[in-house]
């Protein structure tokens, strides 16, 4: 047999039918839904008199517009409340498992799926959310879809997709101290631009990727969409199986053994051909920040804003810098910061809270900064309490909020005011993403922590040197 890529193996095994000169009809193993992109899909189903075909393959969570304080009270915003209630009603009527606000399994859809053991190697996974690519960290084909496609999956457990081209990004070497997988992915996106992987499904490979924890891998795959990729995936290995075997729901299921057997075949064969190959060296990667209004506009934290970007035409580039209040040639070190946001499906997991807490331990929150620490899920929140991270944070003057997407897209009250600067561990620095006029600087959890205690953009390696990490 011809050597195959992991992507091809999984894709081909899920093709129900290849439409002549058309897309493939792809079977979907797991479907996640949330309150914002599903109501019109259920509405569409009702209009055509169709029912949910395989309710057991769909799992719902409320995350995008829920408040992150007082979750036990009714949601104040009427429209958001209606959306959250509509999700609950739709799920109940269709027999779909639903983790509503306040439920012990509630959280951001891309945080809860993996932690519950629902995301497993070899699967096809979709969700009406572009960061579904997160689940690729487990060796799955996972990607975001629109609401019409959510309706397709509800109705038939299938969608129609043209097979994307294959790209492999190999990262050799090891990451330096003070550098996280968030920095690595921001580095890659800034090198290839936000459209650099459009039309491709990307496999991340190489020594540096193998060394990453599952959570760090999720952060990378999460942001593969920010370089335009349909999704990103990483072949499963010991790290994957060790992570899964700690989840009782998985390790006690019959799936566990059969997957362990299958795992060795879930690899790209030697000699398999990719449509495009890129190589990076992890030791070149510094802590990164963004200076503009797309995730490709990133630079080393101690660098200077370039004169022009690789992706944008000049007017777009200048508009972007104007929006941020920056100029070419500027260094951002020491630039005052008004807000810090730790959270989102990119960096709202327990390891991110650990990294943040380790950095702020023994320090104090800077007085002029508002800091939002939003765990990605109820489970992360419980774990943070159990490990004593929450105490460390409280002692340093921080407060933990309740889980949700929060300031990542600011559909709830967690908005950054116009003109204010926010160092955010989320994934998008688009104009107005965190509130109208908000200025977002994307970074990893260590850089966010450094900003939270200094009130300025600070190289996390500086603080690490002082406290001799």
């Amino acid at each position: 047999m011809e050597p195959q890529t992991l992507f091809d193996k999984i894709w081909d095994a899920h093709v129900v039918k290849s439409v002549e000169e058309g897309p493939d009809v792809l079977y979907i193993d797991r479907h996640y839904i949330h309150e914002v992109t599903s109501p019109q899909a259920f509405g569409g189903l009702r209009q055509r008199g169709a029912v949910v075909f395989r309710p057991e393959r769909t799992t719902a969570t409320a995350d995008h517009n829920i408040p992150t304080t007082d979750q036990h009270l009714p949601i104040r915003d009427e429209v958001s409340r209606a959306q959250v209630e509509t999700l609950a009603m739709n799920c109940q009527a269709a027999g779909i498992e639903h983790f509503g606000i306040g439920h012990p399994s509630n959280g951001i859809v891309h945080v809860t799926g993996p932690e519950m053991g629902y995301t497993l190697p070899g699967m096809t996974i979709v969700c009406g959310d572009s960061h579904t690519s997160t689940h690729g960290a487990f060796g799955t084909i996972a990607f975001g879809i629109g609401t019409s496609e959510v309706e397709m999956v509800l109705a038939t457990q299938c969608i129609m997709q043209t097979k994307p081209a294959r790209m492999r990004i190999t990262i050799n070497g090891s990451l330096n101290k003070g550098v996280t997988s968030k920095d690595l992915i921001l580095y890659i996106i800034s090198s290839i631009s936000t459209g650099g992987a459009t039309g491709y499904f990307v496999e991340f490979a190489g020594e540096a990727v193998r060394q990453l924890s599952m959570e760090a891998r999720m952060t990378m795959c999460n942001m593969s969409i920010e370089m335009g990729a349909r999704g990103g995936l990483i072949a499963p290995d010991e790290v994957t199986y060790n992570y899964l075997s700690e989840i009782p729901a998985f390790s006690e299921s019959p799936m566990a053994q059969s997957l362990a057997d299958k795992w060795h075949s879930l690899q790209t064969d030697a000699g398999a051909v990719f449509d495009k190959e890129l190589h990076f060296d992890a030791s070149d990667v510094p802590p990164m920040i963004t200076y503009g209004t797309n995730p490709g506009m990133g630079m080393a934290i101690d660098g200077t804003i370039p004169d022009a970007a690789i992706t944008d035409n000049t007017s777009s580039y200048n508009k972007s810098l104007d929006y941020m209040g920056f100029r070419p040639g500027m260094s951002l070190l020491g630039h005052p910061v008004d807000y810090v946001f730790l959270g989102s499906c990119t960096n709202g997991r327990i390891e991110d809270l650990r990294a943040f807490a380790a950095m702020v331990e023994g320090r104090k929150k800077a007085p002029d900064v508002t800091v939002l620490i939003v765990p990605g899920s109820q489970k992360v929140a419980r774990e943070a309490e159990r490990e004593g991270l929450a105490d460390i944070l409280r002692r340093a003057g921080f407060e933990m909020r309740q889980p949700g997407c929060s300031s990542c897209l600011a559909m709830n009250d967690d908005k950054i005011p116009p003109g204010k600067y926010a160092v955010s561990t989320s994934n998008r620095n688009f104009e107005g993403r965190q509130g109208p006029g908000a200025r977002t600087i994307l970074a990893g959890p260590l850089t966010a922590a450094a900003a939270a205690v200094t009130g300025r953009i600070t190289d996390p390696r500086e603080l690490m040197r002082i406290c001799d990490f």
Binding site: E21, H64, D77, G146, N313, S316
Partner: protein, 198 residues
Amino acid sequence: MKREKFTILESTCVPLPQSNIDTDQIIPARFLSATSREGFGENLFRDWRFDKEGNRIEGFVLNRPEYKGSILVTGSNFGCGSSREHAVWAIHDHGFRAVVSDSFADIFRNNALNNGLLPVQVTSAELGDLTEQIIRSPETRVKIDLDQQIITIEETGFTASFGINAFKKQCLLQGLDNIDYLLGMKEEIMAFEKNRSL
């Protein structure tokens, strides 16, 4: 469900030559709370069209009376970012039926095709010519012929061809909907479930 058929579209155009226009600009997240598909056009490009007080920003192209029509001509990597189909609904609801660019984000392209909004991808040079022509002469009429897969301007002789998946093209031309197609495949899907290997 039957959809509007797309065959030939002839219209003036609205030029918006910015690259990397993301779906948060097309429709900001705070307008996504509705549970129906209607009415999103009102908030299309909301923060570019209106200031904080809700006043129209006169310079923005959608507020300029000389530029109107059902074809939006944009910059590279249009529709990147979130998967929100609301972006397509907003563009469609505002009255656009086609978007022309030299590249589209993947999810946006699918969403557009699923809603009868035609993504027309031309080369960068063609996009440049087209944009320049429209900005200079807003009254320029552009014709998009889906069956022939060409976009033309009669007066200037401008012609560019564009690609589209043959199946999707038929769906648009005949106003067919993919969900109906899939619903018709239930037997095959169930057979697949029984025999699957992975």
